[in-house]
Every structure is written in structure tokens, then in C-alpha cells.
């Protein structure tokens, strides 16, 4: 418990630093329109308004003969066109334990037509040892409408990690959408307390068929393949069926 609290204190500090960075950056970009010649009586339009987004991209029950598990993968952002604060959370809960928990808070800035630079902190919150990582990466839309993200991490213990995600949406009809998706995690060193092995030790890929009852509300069925090579013990590989919900606000 003590160790958890100590490790957990750091992300909050990081978060505070991130938030102040985003706010000061947003302020720096805000022209004092009141005084500007282009708008002698104040802003005629509001093109610097912040927007926000919160999405559960995976919220699913994975069927596994008597050992079902709940997988979540979510993201949220808030901010302007130029500066945003992102939050990401993912993990897997089964048999009273959570595994592979990853929670990130990232400062996000568009750097090209289709890609954003993201930097911040990741904390691995699950039933095992917590780890805090610094994070830096890119997220965006690659040619052929491939949504990808690649993030590199460095932990306080001198471990390095890398996460790559990719997803594609194939429209079978206007509302029936097939989404192949994959997430690959790699670690520079094995980490027994975290139960991860070195190398590209975790792969979680799925093929999900969702029906958009509304854009923001889409139940789905899918087949999920996961492979993990823990620091000790046998690597585990399995196909499972999944039923879940994709929803956003």
C-alpha cells in the first residue's frame, strides 16, 4: 500500500505540470481581441472555443469458459484546435483482478495535417505493481485512413516501453462497421512485479463488428486475439469472443 501511494503521488504532480502547461499554452495563443484592430468591439466569432470528447472505444465482455473478463479502452480530450489535454485508460478485469492497466495523461498538439504530438505521463494502475512512465508519441491518421498511435515510455526505474496501436474502419453499410484493431506493447526489460516480459510481449488484437444505432452508441460483437509473454511462466495465447459497446459523448 505504501509503495502504491508513493508511486501514485508522482502522476498527480505530473498532471498538475501538464495542466499548467496546457493552460499557459492556450493563453499564449489567445490574442487579446478586445484591443485588436480586427475587432474593435470584441470578437465577432468564437474560433478559440474549447471542445471535449469522451469515448469508450472498447467496453466488452470477453467470453472465456467460466473465466470471462471485462476489457475497457477509453480516451477523452478537452481543449482547443491547437492545444488539448488527453486522457487514456485501458485494462482488463477478470477473477477479481485487473491486469494490463494503463492510464495516461498527455499534452496534445497538432504538428502536421494528420498527426498530433503527445507527451505526458503514464501510470499502470491495476492489481499488480504500479509503474510511472514518462510518455511521448504521435497519434493520427495515416494514409489509407489507418488510425495509428505510437508512444514511447521511460520509467523511473530505467525501463523503456513502446506501445503501438492501429485501427481501420470498413463500412459494410452506413451503420454496420467492421473494425480490425491491434495494440502491441513492448518492454525493454522483464518486470516481474508487473507481470510483463521483455520484447513485444503483449499483443491484443480484435475484429469487431458494430452497429451504429446512433453515431455515439454502437453495440458490437467481435473476435479477440491476445498473446502475452509474462516475465515468468508460459506465454499465453488465446482467441475469444467479445460482446461490447462503443459509445462516446
Amino acid at each position: 500500500m505504501t509503495r502504491c501511494r508513493r508511486a501514485g503521488g508522482r502522476p498527480i504532480l505530473w498532471l498538475a505540470i501538464l495542466a499548467s502547461l496546457v493552460i499557459s499554452d492556450a493563453r499564449a495563443q489567445t490574442t487579446p481581441l478586445e484591443a485588436s484592430a480586427a475587432a474593435p468591439y470584441g470578437a465577432p466569432i468564437e474560433d478559440q472555443n474549447p471542445f471535449w470528447h469522451a469515448e469508450l472505444s472498447q467496453f466488452e465482455e470477453r467470453l472465456d469458459a467460466g473465466n470471462n473478463g471485462l476489457r475497457w479502452d477509453s480516451e477523452a480530450w478537452v481543449g482547443t484546435d491547437e492545444t488539448r489535454l488527453w486522457f487514456k485508460s485501458e485494462g482488463y478485469a477478470s477473477a477479481g483482478q485487473t491486469h494490463d492497466g494503463q492510464d495516461e495523461a498527455l499534452y496534445d498538439r497538432p504538428v502536421s495535417t494528420f498527426f498530433d504530438l503527445q507527451a505526458g505521463v503514464r501510470y499502470d494502475l491495476d492489481s499488480f505493481a504500479g509503474r510511472t512512465w514518462g510518455a511521448i508519441g504521435f497519434e493520427g491518421l495515416a494514409p489509407y485512413e489507418l488510425k495509428i498511435a505510437a508512444t514511447a515510455y521511460a520509467s523511473e526505474a530505467g525501463h523503456y516501453a513502446m506501445k503501438i496501436t492501429a485501427a481501420y474502419e470498413a463500412l459494410l453499410t452506413q451503420r454496420l462497421i467492421l473494425e480490425p484493431q491491434a495494440e502491441l506493447n513492448g518492454y525493454s526489460r522483464p518486470d516481474r512485479p508487473m507481470q510483463v516480459g521483455s520484447g513485444w510481449s503483449q499483443l491484443d488484437a480484435g475484429l469487431r463488428l458494430r452497429y451504429e444505432i446512433r453515431r455515439k452508441f454502437a453495440p458490437y460483437l467481435g473476435a479477440v486475439y491476445s498473446r502475452s509473454a509474462p516475465a515468468s511462466g508460459l506465454s499465453r495465447e488465446q482467441w475469444r469472443l467479445a460482446a461490447g459497446l462503443r459509445a462516446w459523448l
Partner: protein, 589 residues
């Protein structure tokens, strides 16, 4: 020829209303009150001081079966039709009964800058509870409109017709005079619409290409060509179905405030000539308008008389106006059919020989696709011709073909924001740069060329009166119309309003504005305070406009004289593009 041919205080429900000098004589049929439409009253008014009172207040409004709160002038959507005569001095007292600031902008009207009604530029806006008095002389004539320039009030109903009768007799005859004001309505909060687009740009596009359209393409073109075509668009991360940002999936399209089922109706007697004043007061919708069974003669564009053009269909960009004359025959009714450019729905009204008569509503045309021309890609034989199927080349004249080829080398124009367009490429705010923009004024537009009907083209517009100002431009400024569809950001020259400074013109300077559309969407660009001559090749008779709908990959220009000092707005009239930053202040001093 003369006004005497126009009926005074025409038939229909308006007869029940009293027309007295003053406010009532300035207003005409508010469609919400009158199920059947009414011709404009023809008060024979001498130029005089005309007063009008407008009260802006919330109004319970229901066009979808669900009641919503509209923003209305004088409890009506559209607001009252204001009818004035050239030479009048208008005094408009606008009282704000909303909980937020409001404003009225007089679209296309030449007036002093402090009367233009743009909060931030002309004045501070009209605070809740306050009254602002506009006063300015009417120096022009034609079909115009007014609307709010505050927040999203234009989307929620604050717009109305502004009809300016000429001092001199008009060069065309008609028996009845109707306003056909097109608009779009959503039950959603317009801020939520903008938020949805910021989160997912194709949020409202339910006509995307799918597996089944791929199978159809493969069947038509062969698997290889269909796959190559999909691959090309996907590689560019663009959607060829990206025609309108907000579609019929949330919009109900209105004529004079009435949805297709309510069927706004205007009466005629066989053989009469009707003047229909089309005004596109929509926030985000381009309409393609036709009246099956009737030829239309276009006599004015954006309020300016043109040499009459006989056509069967016209595209009307947001904020444009076209006056057409039709002469219904013996059929009991004709449908005015205004389909949304992306074919996701339509506005409909009826010309009827007696109340209740209706005519068939035509099927929507097939949804068009963006073309390689829109992308600015060279048309070579090796390219799969998928998207070119929209344009039937065999029906095009050589002149039309030529107009699609790259235009003459642009004269050097300074970029209005001091931006080098080549350096915009790859910026977060820009997803496409048109390297070889074309003169596309000779095209009717995506989905119209080659549809078998005679469709109005900008190159056809020829002003009735010769140019009043033949001076060459003292200076040229180029504006690139830019955006990033994926991020849903819009601006000029890769910059939003808040990122750019004002554009400064010297008082009296003769200006040429060059617009180059780098984006994949049309932008109806509107300049406040001035009427400009669109350089469409009709030398000596350039048409005079206030709004020009610029096609993707198009380069066009217009001339005007900066003869009125002050701060003027220059923006895309797609309301959400404007609100996203596609806006500049032009300072004339």
C-alpha cells in the same frame, strides 16, 4: 413593364391584414401565419422615412413534430419581409428580448460601417433588453435579406427577406411577386452540431461509400479500377462524399419557414407571370432548385439585374439570391423542388392554381461524388475515370472543356495574410493545397454538369447594365480558402480569424480580390459593405454580387472599390465555417 402590372395588395390571407403606412406596409406574408403564400403587397410608396420595429425573442417552433425554441423576429420564422423603396431612409428599431446579445446584419446592403450589424466590428451588438436603432438610406434595389450575426442565431431562425423596390421601372414584367426563402432547421443545438463535427467530421454523412457501393463500382468499372479509386481517396485521407458538413440526417429543409410536408403554397392563375425571389438563408445548405414543367428566366442575381437567362435549374449557395420569372400553364400545380446539394433531402413548395392543389415531388437525383478535378489532379487517360462519370464529357462544348483546363497564369497577387501558399502544405490547418487551380465559372457544379438539364452557370451571368467602373485594379490580394476536414478547422491562408490580423485597404482603392479554394468544399464567400463585380468573362457587363460560391480547386476574382470607410467582415457564409475561423476583418481607411 411598369409597376402597374403588379397587383396591389394581392389575394390570399394577406387581404385579411391591414396595410397601413408604417410598419405594416413594410411587412409582407409571414409564411408561418399563412399556410398559403401571399404575393408581396405593392404599396405605391414615395421615397420617405420608413420605420420598422423588430423584436427579437424566443419562439416555440415545430417543423419536425418536436417543439424547439427558435430565435425569431416579431414572432415569425422567417422574420417579417421588409419592403422598402430605393431612396427611402430606413429606421429600424431592434429590441432584444433574448437572454443573450443579438444583432441584425443587412446582407448585401451598401451602408455606413456602423450600421452593418456585425458585433465586434460595427458595434457591440444589442444587449439583452436593449434597443438599437439602425438608420441608413437605401441606395440600391433588388432582393436581399437580413439575419443575425450573433452566435448561432442564424441557424435558429433569425433571418428574413429585405425587398428593395427600384426607383425606376423594372425591365421585366410580372403579375405576382413571391419570396421563396430557403433555409435549414435542426432540432439539435447548433453548438452541439459544431461539437459533433469537431469530434467526427463525417458525423452527419450517411451517404459514405460502403462495401455495396464498392461492389457496384467494381461491377461498373472493373475490380482493379474500383480498388484503385478507393485507394486513391483513402491514401489522401479524404472522402469523396464530403459534399455538405451538415446534412438531411439532422436538417429539415424549409421554404418560408415550412417543411416539405407543410408545403408552402403560392397561388397563380394560368398564364400569369410570377416573380419568385429565391433567397438562400440556410446556415450550411447549398440547394439545387428547379420547378419541373416550368422554364425559369433568371432576371437578377444577388439583387442585381442581369440579362435574362432561360434555364431549368440553378444552384444557390448560402446567402445568394436569384430572382426568376416563371409563367405557369394550365397544370393545376407545380412543385418548387430545392434539393440539398448532397441529395440528403429537399425543401419543397407548390405553385398552385387553387389552394390545396399539389404536383408530384420528383425523386432526389443520385448523390454526386467529389472528382479528381476537385482534388486538382491532372486528368490523364491512365487515371480511372470513376469520378469523372459525374461529368459526361460528350455533352460538354469545347468552351466548357477549355474552362476545365488550367486557366491562364495568375497575375501576381499578394497574399492577403502574407502567407506563401506553398508553405501551407502539411500544416495542421491545411489538408490540401491547390497547385493548379482552375477557372470553373463555366461549370454548373458537382452533380449538375451533364445532368441533361439547362443549369445556370456563373459564366452566364451578364449584368443588364454596363460596368459603372472600368478602372483597373490598383492592387490585388489573394485569399486561399483553406481547411482541414479531418480536424474540422477552417480559415483563410491556413489561419483562423483569431490567428490573423486585419486586411487593410486604402479608402478609394480599386481592389481585385483573388480567391483560390484549396479545400475540397464549396465556400460561399461574402464581403460586407461592398458589391463586387465577378470577373466571369462578361467584359463590360460583369455581374454584381455580394456572395460568390467558390468551387473546390477553383480560382476566381472580383473587383470592387473600397469607397466606404470602416471595419467590414469578409467570411465564408457557411455559418459553422465562419464560426470556426473562416473570417477576416477588412479595414478601409
Amino acid at each position: 413593364m411598369s409597376d402597374s402590372k403588379i397587383r396591389s395588395d394581392g389575394p390570399g390571407p394577406l387581404n385579411r391584414r391591414r396595410f397601413v403606412q408604417g410598419l405594416a406596409s413594410l411587412t409582407c406574408g409571414t409564411a408561418r401565419l399563412a399556410r398559403a403564400g401571399s404575393p408581396l403587397p405593392n404599396g405605391r410608396l414615395e421615397p420617405a422615412d420608413k420605420s420598422v420595429l423588430l423584436t427579437v425573442a424566443p419562439l416555440s417552433f415545430n417543423v419536425t413534430g418536436r417543439s424547439r425554441i427558435a430565435t425569431a423576429a416579431n414572432d415569425s420564422v422567417p422574420g417579417p419581409c421588409l419592403r422598402l423603396r430605393q431612396g427611402d431612409v430606413l429606421t429600424a428599431r431592434v429590441t432584444n428580448r433574448l437572454a443573450e446579445p443579438t444583432s441584425i446584419h443587412w446582407h448585401g446592403i451598401r451602408l455606413p460601417a456602423d450600421q452593418d450589424g456585425v458585433p465586434g466590428l460595427s458595434f457591440r451588438g444589442i444587449a439583452p433588453g436593449a434597443t438599437f436603432t439602425y438608420q441608413f438610406p437605401i441606395t440600391q434595389s433588388g432582393t436581399y435579406w437580413y439575419h443575425s450575426h450573433s452566435g448561432m442565431q442564424e441557424q435558429t431562425g433569425l433571418y428574413g427577406p429585405l425587398i428593395l423596390l427600384p426607383r425606376d421601372p423594372e425591365p421585366y414584367e410580372y403579375d405576382r411577386d413571391y419570396v421563396v426563402m430557403l433555409s435549414d432547421w435542426t432540432d439539435e443545438n447548433p453548438m452541439a452540431v459544431l461539437s459533433n463535427l469537431k469530434q467526427q467530421s463525417e458525423y452527419y454523412d450517411y451517404q459514405r461509400r460502403t462495401l455495396s457501393t464498392f461492389v457496384a463500382d467494381a461491377d461498373r468499372l472493373g475490380l482493379r479500377a474500383a480498388a484503385a479509386d478507393r485507394g486513391m481517396w483513402d491514401r489522401m485521407r479524404m472522402r469523396p462524399t464530403d459534399l455538405m458538413d451538415v446534412t438531411g440526417s439532422t436538417y429539415t429543409f424549409l421554404v418560408n419557414g415550412q417543411g416539405p410536408a407543410m408545403n408552402w403554397t403560392a397561388l397563380f392563375t394560368a398564364g400569369e407571370k410570377l416573380r419568385l425571389r429565391f433567397i438562400n438563408a440556410a446556415s450550411m445548405t447549398t440547394f439545387d432548385v428547379r420547378i419541373p414543367g416550368l422554364a425559369m428566366t433568371v432576371v437578377a442575381a444577388d439583387g442585381g439585374d442581369i440579362q435574362p437567362l432561360d434555364i431549368e435549374e440553378f444552384r444557390i449557395g448560402v446567402a445568394e439570391t436569384f430572382d426568376v420569372i416563371v409563367q405557369p400553364g394550365n397544370a393545376p400545380a407545380y412543385t418548387i423542388f430545392a434539393q440539398a446539394f448532397d441529395r440528403s433531402g429537399y425543401a419543397r413548395a407548390t405553385l398552385a392554381s387553387h389552394a390545396g392543389a399539389t404536383a408530384a415531388i420528383p425523386a432526389l437525383d443520385p448523390r454526386p461524388l467529389r472528382t479528381m478535378t476537385d482534388m486538382g489532379m491532372q486528368m490523364t487517360a491512365s487515371r480511372p475515370a470513376t469520378e469523372m462519370s459525374n461529368i459526361d464529357m460528350s455533352q460538354m462544348s469545347m468552351a466548357e472543356m477549355a474552362s476545365m483546363m488550367p486557366g491562364p497564369a495568375p497575375t501576381p497577387a499578394a497574399n492577403a495574410d502574407g502567407v506563401d501558399p506553398a508553405r501551407m502544405r502539411g500544416q495542421p490547418s491545411v489538408d490540401h493545397v491547390a497547385d493548379h487551380p482552375l477557372n470553373r465559372l463555366g461549370e454548373a457544379g458537382t452533380g449538375l454538369d451533364g445532368n441533361g438539364r439547362r443549369v445556370l452557370r456563373y459564366s452566364d451571368l451578364r449584368s443588364l447594365n454596363p460596368d459603372t467602373d472600368n478602372r483597373p485594379a490598383d492592387r490585388e490580394l489573394e485569399f486561399r480558402l483553406t481547411g482541414n476536414m479531418e480536424r474540422w478547422v477552417w480559415g483563410f491562408d491556413g489561419e483562423k480569424f483569431s490567428e490573423a490580423g486585419p486586411v487593410r485597404l486604402r479608402l478609394g482603392e480599386r481592389m481585385r480580390f483573388v480567391l483560390v479554394n484549396d479545400s475540397m468544399m464549396e465556400h460561399p464567400i461574402h464581403l460586407h459593405g461592398f458589391l463586387f463585380a465577378l470577373e466571369n468573362g462578361q467584359e463590360g457587363h460583369l455581374p454584381i454580387k455580394h456572395t460568390v460560391n467558390v468551387k473546390p480547386n477553383e480560382r476566381l476574382s472580383f473587383l470592387f472599390t473600397a469607397d466606404t470607410p470602416g471595419c467590414w467582415a469578409f467570411h465564408c457564409h457557411l455559418m459553422l465555417h465562419m464560426e470556426a475561423g473562416m473570417f477576416r476583418t477588412v479595414i478601409v481607411a
